[in-house]
């Protein structure tokens, strides 16, 4: 009920002193200011005739070469295609870099708790050196002073000898034993997926045994996995459909996938997936029964070992590994690694590894002293105490900051341009210079990096959920 008043001034003053008025007013002012700024910038852009946002240019011929790509890109292909090749190159660096940096980081972090004084100090010096020198300088150093300083093809380094030739190094690149991707590979991949699934289930059951109770249930686990799979699928599909106008890519997602699902192989895959789902349920019941009967877990352990062996066998036999072959003036076959790729991965690994080492060190320090002492008083050796008692407990402190470290690695991979490795940023840079479509190219590039970070973040959150200690 608003009453008319004779004196409007005091009401106005009261309004000025009312916090609620200012809360609304402030938001409106900020909103208008931001919108006005954007409108002003957009106006300037329009005045220069650059305002229309059109991704159509992605279909045009890119015309510049890409030496190191696994998509079979040719200079006559479109910008969309080379962007995809760039994204895949970025992923190659990021995934391998994350795995290697984690190994290096955990090794260095654990080594700083070694009883060997020398090892301790080496770990500290490594961290202090890497963290205080810019990454870009390190990348350039690795490239020019280490990888490009290798002998030329006439004097190439062959390890262990000319006959076996597992590793061949010259300034043209490194060759390692590599998979030859035979036609029957899809069987191997399906088996591999199944083995991983079974391994996961067994691990879960082992955890149930260890805790003596049932966790969130395998159904909850599956739904988590399906969530991630859906997000990844949507992200990747959207990416390819949005940004690639080339017919063959569209076909891949609109034609090839349904065609595969309808084919005999596809039916096999579906059947095996159904079988796996059935196994999940049966296994859950079986574990429950084992627990209630009070059986020991040796059967589980044996099965886990068998699965591990099977996985290794599949990886060795299904992929058709071949060593490089020495030819006059060089080598052929195997897995070729360019010096640019090697330099980027090495640089990122050792730089990020130092940061991960610090995180691991802090995590281990966060485990209370009593845990060490308790483990020692049970008669465990120092290294066993670390492996079985302290390190597992430190994981829940280590994993959350690892997320941002992995994200940093992904972002830092854009520095690959400095050594001439054609990743997403490098490709976007060249595309921009050629096509002049500044806003579109930058939007696509930044959007993709955001997606990569999102993917890392989703996966790390899943991992984090596993390692958090529940109900203490």
């Amino acid at each position: 009920m608003v009453q008319k008043t004779a004196k409007p001034l005091p009401r106005f003053k009261a309004l000025l002193r009312d916090e609620r008025f200012w809360q609304v007013a402030l938001q409106i002012i900020v909103f208008i200011a931001v919108v006005a700024t954007f409108y002003y910038l957009y106006g300037n852009l329009k005045a220069k005739g650059q305002a229309e946002f059109d991704l159509g240019f992605l279909q045009n011929t890119a015309g510049f070469p890409m030496s190191d790509n696994i998509l079979g890109y040719q200079p006559t292909n479109s910008y969309a295609k080379i962007m995809q090749a760039g994204v895949i190159n970025s992923f190659r660096v990021v995934i391998v870099g994350i795995i290697l940096a984690t190994i290096v980081g955990i090794t260095a972090g654990v080594a700083s708790f070694s009883t060997n004084w020398l090892l301790q100090k080496i770990s500290r010096v490594y961290v202090g050196l890497m963290r205080n020198v810019p990454l870009l300088l390190q990348l350039i150093f690795w490239y020019t002073a280490v990888f490009r300083a290798t002998p030329n093809a006439d004097n190439q380094i062959v390890f262990p000898d000319e006959a076996l030739s597992w590793v061949v190094i010259s300034n043209k690149g490194i060759r390692l034993p590599g998979p030859s991707f035979p036609n029957e590979l899809w069987v191997g991949i399906i088996l591999l997926v199944l083995a991983l699934l079974l391994g996961g289930l067994l691990w879960r059951s082992a955890n149930m045994f260890r805790l003596g109770r049932f966790g969130a249930g395998i159904g909850g686990w599956l739904s988590r996995g399906v969530n991630v799979a859906i997000i990844v699928a949507v992200v990747i599909t959207d990416y390819f459909l949005l940004f690639s106008n080339s017919a063959e890519d569209r076909l891949y997602f609109t034609g090839a996938v349904p065609a595969f699902v309808g084919s005999p192989q596809g039916l096999w895959v579906l059947a095996l997936m159904g079988l796996a789902a059935g196994l999940v349920y049966v296994w859950k019941l079986r574990t429950q029964a084992m627990l209630t009967r009070g059986e020991d877990g040796n059967l589980l352990l044996g099965m886990m070992g068998a699965i591990a062996l099977a996985t290794a066998a599949i990886i060795i036999f299904a992929f058709g590994w071949k060593t490089p072959v020495i030819v006059p003036n060089g080598a052929e076959g195997g897995l070729p690694i360019t010096m640019e790729y090697a330099a980027v991965v090495t640089g990122l690994t050792f730089y990020t590894g130092a940061f991960i080492a610090e995180i691991v060190r802090a995590g281990i320090q966060s485990v209370s002293r009593g845990q060490w002492e308790a483990a020692r008083s049970l008669g465990l050796s120092n290294s066993k105490a670390m492996q079985l008692v302290v390190f597992p407990q430190s994981l829940q402190v280590i994993i959350p900051p690892l997320n941002s470290e992995f994200a940093n690695l992904a972002k830092n991979s854009s520095l690959a341009i400095a050594v001439g490795y054609q990743d997403l940023y490098s490709v976007a840079y060249t595309s921009l210079n050629q096509s002049g479509r500044a806003i579109e190219v930058i939007a696509v590039m930044m959007g993709t990096y955001l997606l990569i970070n999102l993917l890392i973040s989703i996966n790390m959150n899943q991992l984090n959920a596993v390692f958090q200690v529940k109900g203490r």
Binding site: E19, Q23, L26, Q27, I28, V30, F31, V34, L41, N44, L45, A47, K48, Q50, T115, N116, W117, L118, L119, I122, G128, L129, R131, N132, V133, P134, L135, L136, L137, I140, F141, T144, A145, A407, K411, N412, S413, S414, L415, I417, A418, Y425, Y429, L432, A438, I439, I442, M445, M446, Y449, L450, N453, L454
Partner: protein
Amino acid sequence: MTNLDVSPNRTPTPTPPPKSPIERGAPRVSKLGPVAWGQKNLFNSWFNSILTVVLLLLIGNFVIGTLLWVFSEAQWAVVTDNFGQFMSGLYPPEAYWRIWSMLGIIFLMAGLTWGLLARHQKKLLNQPVLIGLGAIALFAVVLPLTQPHVLNLIVCLGLLVGMALAGQVIGRKIPMAAQLISLGWFLSYFAVLYLLNGGEVRASFLYLVSRVVLSLLVGWQLSQRVSIPALPPWLTKIGLFAAGVVITYLILWYLPYTIPGLDFGIDNVRTSKWGGLTLTLLLAVSGIVLCFPLGILLALGRRSKLPVLRGFSVAYIELIRGVPLISILFMGQVLIPLFLPEGTRPDRIVRAVIGLTMFSAAYLAENIRAGLQAIPQGQTEAAQSLGLNKTLTTLLIVLPQAIKIAIPAIVGQFISLFQDTTLLSIVGLLEMLKMTRNLLVGASYSGDYVEAFLFIALIYWIFCYAMSYGSQRIEAALNTDLR
């Protein structure tokens, strides 16, 4: 730890009464002999013994090889011949005195700050400080690299020590002086910029900023000291302040242009000539200082209960933190000219600083947010119960404490920003890394890349290590919880 002691009223802990010999203090630490020490730390198991021997062999090999290389094989000419270019890019050698004056100003301010902050300390130049200064002086004299500039370096060190001693005296006599440190640094930032850029004094940024500061001071003093009884006091204050500011500013603005002979100045050095360590430091410092206003606003916005403010802040912070710095710098170089009106095209270095500022604002916001979260609710409630409104509570009570908590994180951020300036070499600025790569392109030094890269790596390492060491000291000194 004693240099930055800002809590002089810390009372010494009273000595406990003597106890009986049996229960006195911690267990005795027995010192191990070298053999026993080696047995305990290097050869305590068969595995460790093997490890030690292998590591010793590897390290020995590496160290001997490196030493042999450094002293016999390495061609250090690339460093000694081009020391000036490493330090200041393509800056004309006849204007190097300006770089030295900049260094002088910085050392002068650093000494003054040191002296003023440590004014309650009995002995400023204690043993570790003297040893440190002595070591630096010794290096300056002995190293062949710095020998040509030995006089300048000694003068700079002298300025540091002299101003520190003077600052202590000033700080004790005039307690207000310590509050003017920030103003001094603010003005010396522009003085340094002027020395680097040159041009007419009356048209420079330095003069613009100085006359703004001066007119604000005049206006404030006028409103504090003069009263006009005929008018209500608030009107007098505002009126006098406004009048003082405007009149002083206008006088200072027009005076140099009306009096002939005030068009003096030093030669303008174009920004394309700036480079080397000077540019690296300038970019890093500008990036971290300029991001403060935006960063603090974003941090407050993200903590705000108002959805629009929080939404914009979160969107900005997450967007910037989700993409690589190089893409932001690149965007700065390419998109800023596109988004500005026709004809305005900021200098390349200005665009780089805008990019760095946008980037570090997002990270600073997160650091300050962490600080804000660490402030207990009781502080806000206490401030409100004193009658402070929300704005004043934030400005006077919460923010200062939050920033103090965030200082170690901010120093860490500065270190990484300092390293990140190397990324500007990709967009073509002649900072230290790009300068080095340019030098190595020339035929005369094309094989000496290891020497050149090691040299600048050493410089980056020294700066970053010194800063992180300093940050630990500041953290200890600012830790007022220790009682």
